[in-house]
Subunit: 310 residues, 2 copies
């Protein structure tokens, strides 16, 4: 398979690239960020530039396009809606339109987000794909809009489109502005004697569906050969942030004091979220296999080793 990954240099993109290469695909990397050194099969492309997107898709002639590019952090997206619109929605339109224009039928996998569900009611758990999309911020609104673009071209029938709605996914290499990575970095610094044994925390009560990024990217490849549609991806279980922290503290072996950081205490949150896996299991044969504790261990080790090598 000739696989073209937009957003290849990001957290998920790197894991996806590794997985696709391991599965024997010929992988072409595209994105605004590149590895810095010239790498074979790598294209520096800003997806807001329609002509640049056209060039790379026409040159690669991919069998499968994975679209992971865009602004992925909610607070960043909140700041500038025009930019989010241009990147997350306009960029998606550029990519899928070029896939649509290719002569061959392309499989297209779009990484949307479970954020599109917005505020989830307890009565709606586990969350299925038929739950209404009710975005509550710019990021999730942009993902919903990008989904609409994908669905429009899906209806035209020339691109085989799958939309993934992953819930929280963690793993080595994730930026420390996300909660598990953040805790792990703080603990690794403490364990190395680089910081006082104090962990700054936000709301620890919220229960979220955490899965491993390596399970998620495995699902993306399975989705690419599915019959299309929208799929929730997650663990199917809810874990409290407190639980993540407790496991990470146990892994680090340090004793810490918790300190509430007002900046991390978000506003009224949904108490609990977890997904149904029925659709993706039955139609794509995917289930997550990596236990959360293993993911957290790897996240911690990644930070510890990185600090050690600095």
């Amino acid at each position: 398979m000739r696989a073209l990954v937009f957003g290849a240099a990001g957290f998920v993109g790197k894991h996806l690239t590794e997985h696709l290469q391991g599965a024997g695909d010929t992988v072409y990397l595209a994105g605004i960020r590149t590895s810095g050194t010239p790498v074979e099969n790598e294209f520096a492309v800003d997806i807001t530039d329609a002509a640049a997107v056209r060039r790379v898709i026409q040159e690669v002639e991919p069998d499968t396009v994975y679209h992971l590019a865009g602004i992925a952090f909610v607070p960043e997206a909140e700041g500038d809606f025009d930019r989010v619109l241009s990147i997350n929605v306009g960029g998606t339109a550029h990519i899928i339109r070029e896939c649509h224009e290719l002569n061959a039928r392309v499989n297209f996998v779009f990484a949307s987000s479970a954020e599109v569900y917005g505020a989830i009611n307890a009565a709606d758990l586990p969350v299925t794909e038929s739950a209404p999309a009710r975005p509550k911020n710019n990021y999730s609104a942009s993902k919903q809009m990008a989904e609409l673009i994908v669905e429009r071209y899906a209806r035209e029938g020339r691109v085989q489109c799958s939309i993934a709605r992953p819930f929280n996914h963690i793993g080595p290499g994730q930026e420390p502005r996300f909660v598990a990575s953040n805790f792990a970095l703080q603990l690794a610094r403490i364990a190395r004697g680089e910081a006082a044994p104090i962990i700054r925390v936000g709301n620890l009560e919220a229960r979220r569906d955490f899965s491993d990024v390596r399970d998620i990217v495995r699902a993306y490849r399975l989705l690419s050969t599915s019959s299309g549609g929208t799929f929730n991806l997650g663990s199917g279980k809810a874990y409290s942030i407190q639980y993540l922290l407790d496991v990470l503290i146990g892994i680090s072996g340090v004793e810490v004091t918790l300190e509430t950081d007002p900046e991390r205490m978000r506003g009224p949150e949904v108490a609990e979220v977890y997904t149904s896996l029925d659709k993706v299991q039955s139609l794509c044969g995917w289930s997550p296999v990596i236990p959360l504790e293993r993911s957290l261990e790897d996240v911690y080790r990644c930070w510890f080793d990185r600090l050690a090598s600095e």
Copy 2:
């Protein structure tokens, strides 16, 4: 009422302004096009400019905002999605965000379009507001996205939001790229001896829901004081394009030959479309009152008089 109209210089905007003034509202006009001469209460504002939108809304402090601005012609929207996105979606986001930021509760009426329904199945007639939105072109996709932005702020509760989904509406002053206005202009030229008695036509079989723009703008004002939500607006009846043409030919009193224009023969179309009026009738007390034949007469007279004064 202090009413602020975005897109005031457009076809619908002019009719809305006239209706609001007639109803006693103090009307503020905003838009990228202005009347050309300085007019009281008129603001030249490009809605893609967030700061400019902020200034006019903060200065006017409206009770009600009518948002009619944007690219309204399907083929124009098809050409440049980035531009459509920036104007129709980004512009909407700028306007409603500023309404949301005002201290007072603002009534917001967004002119979306029945185009969001896309291809309508015969079994789904008459079209109700619960029919799925399945945009099939850039214009309708942009309208659906703009609706999502409006719905997001509606959920936050600080703006009273109504979304109008008008079906085809006609009336004096409509640009001649729309079908009824186009026929009327051709016939007026023939009647004045300025053109040969040949009418170029496209597909005459399609049956569409045509109403009068003056009924539509009356609905907009009623929507502004409704409890919010999404409302189809139309005549509730389907008229063939052939019927419109026949009525216009009768009004003009000329004898013509029809000539098929391949450029006007659009691709596979939906045979028949007409809306349910149940929701808007029961919740807003609105029904259209102007007969189609009267609308067509006014459209024809408008062109005839304009040609005469040139």
